[in-house]
Symmetry: C2
Amino acid sequence: MNSTVMQGNSGSPDVIVLGGGIIGLSSAWSLARAGLRVVVVDPAGAVARPRPGATWAAAGMLAPVSEASLAHEPLTRLGTAAVQRFPDLVESIRQAGGPDPQWRRTGSVAVAYDSADRDELRRRHDVQHRWGLDARMLEADECRDLEPALDPGVAGGVLIPDDHQVNPRRLVAGLLHMLTRVAGVEVIARAGRPQLVGGRVEGVRLDDGQMRSAPVVVLATGAWSSDVCPVRPVKGQILRLRMSARDALLRHPVRGIVAGREVYLVPRADGELVVGATTEDVGLDESVTAAGVYELLRDAITLVPGIQDLELTETLARCRPASPDGLPLIGRCHVPGLVLATGHGRHGVLLSALTGDAVRDAVLGRPQDDAVTACDPGRFTDPVTLEGRAA
Amino acid sequence: MNSTVMQGNSGSPDVIVLGGGIIGLSSAWSLARAGLRVVVVDPAGAVARPRPGATWAAAGMLAPVSEASLAHEPLTRLGTAAVQRFPDLVESIRQAGGPDPQWRRTGSVAVAYDSADRDELRRRHDVQHRWGLDARMLEADECRDLEPALDPGVAGGVLIPDDHQVNPRRLVAGLLHMLTRVAGVEVIARAGRPQLVGGRVEGVRLDDGQMRSAPVVVLATGAWSSDVCPVRPVKGQILRLRMSARDALLRHPVRGIVAGREVYLVPRADGELVVGATTEDVGLDESVTAAGVYELLRDAITLVPGIQDLELTETLARCRPASPDGLPLIGRCHVPGLVLATGHGRHGVLLSALTGDAVRDAVLGRPQDDAVTACDPGRFTDPVTLEGRAA
């Protein structure tokens, strides 16, 4: 254990976590649970309400197998390991009397709209099979048996029994509940930046000019870390619609390929249907566009015509933090006192609980799990670029 | 002049206007300006903010000529007369120091997407020509000279030089400003219903059970009059997008026919672009649907591809009050003390100032303008069905 960390005076925390998205909150929870005094800094504060950043948009599919062919093997291994961390987190929230984050194993159905899309699904299925993941090819009529609302033209699909889902907004609420009511963690409703003196972290400078000291700072600012880390904002637009809760249009999360384009539809037990998501390389931009909404609706309606009649309750655009190699940056870096937890791309919710534990281990100087070592920020020449004062 | 009206005691108003949409507010203003003591009852109160009812959705095209072929001649005559009332209203708001309602003559361009659409535009042009209205057929290249952002496939169009536009939300704000700050009109932030005793109006029963007495009640509750008047709610969905204010994508309101479907695009000087509107016979339903948004975006993007890049800032659904013959119901009816001002369909903003004056004349027992007599509620057997107590 790093002795510096545990010897902060009673007025200052052991760790300040910069960023109150799913990565920052999970990290704060793992750190607090390990007995560290933690402060979280995020403009949205301690209330689970609409906030900037990818977390508030996320659909909450925990689908490392579905994603397998889109990703590479280390990321898939990381994802399958990450799913295992959820039962413990969910149980902690339950015991703390927090909101149910609606974590459940629903499986998911990947469907292909035309024959070329089916060829692509088959290619992905081969990858899943090669990696020993459970995925079963479906004929068109088997797809419609599982989901009768699918368009009759759907060409085929793949069933992935082990995919899970969670409601990210409720997970945020649950983490905030535990942090503030159980762990007594302070959440400062401000933006902040790591403060360096003589090349090492001294704490966080808040946007009102105040300085909060801490020997360790966790940088978990998602797409907003793109100015200091090798991370690129990738904009995603996402829609929320309302189904009848009793007579749901869909039962499983559906991942579609429609004439080569990706769209996913995640139904929740309360009747919410999440439709996402675009992938746009346009910098830090959280504006909803006509094209984004139009294309999502078009592809969703193509796959499931009954979507036309649903109420459209929300349109949203947020930025994911994408790293050059698709793996997140988790762990200590060349700046003493700074721990990175960013670059999770479209996998932030899936990797949240695992990242929290990995951040805790990095802060405490414990060895990392094998799957996490691939995320060492040291694989990049300059994992972070920060200016500070001389010592 | 109806002596009953002018002899209310100092504690009760001469007239209560039920409904604070554009018809209710215009009526209240004309009545107050004539020296009557007026109270307005509307759940949204005296603040110009999002509220139920068609007014908040309206694009504000004042386009009786464009609408001519869609309507019938009495409605077109009413519309062309109604446009003439705006300069006086706008000047009143200006003198009162209210917000500029952005009333201006911009003309409008009707465009046809394919050759069948062009045939339909030509048919409408023939009607416009026959009624002596100024409308000029345009070749495809003339359309694009006027609006370079139009799709190159646009088949032709019609220029209507005399069409005007106004910003309905700013007009609401201007009317509320004059009513509350100049005329001292009380606006009660509640719902209410006309109270009948012995078959005649005694005032308004508020939804908290309170009774407000007045010898005359104006019923201007738009689609919510459908339970008592021969008026049908017709749902419309409408979008708002954001253009660059400096380099606007469009300069004129554009009314398109795209494969037989209607869509209009109304650009404002501040960069707002309003895209509307669906026409749905689904009862009193103000929910935005996937199909509504999808179809508006599809048709708008088909006509003006550059719309894809615009920010989508608002989606909204509201209900218009449609009468069986397309003309509003304006004037006294068989219930003594009750004046109707409803059934304006998609023409409420256009007809607002004229309706306000007609309501005033009805209350004061003055003769109506020729164009307005066609709107006499007496043309229906049962223009209103209200239950009340015996005398």
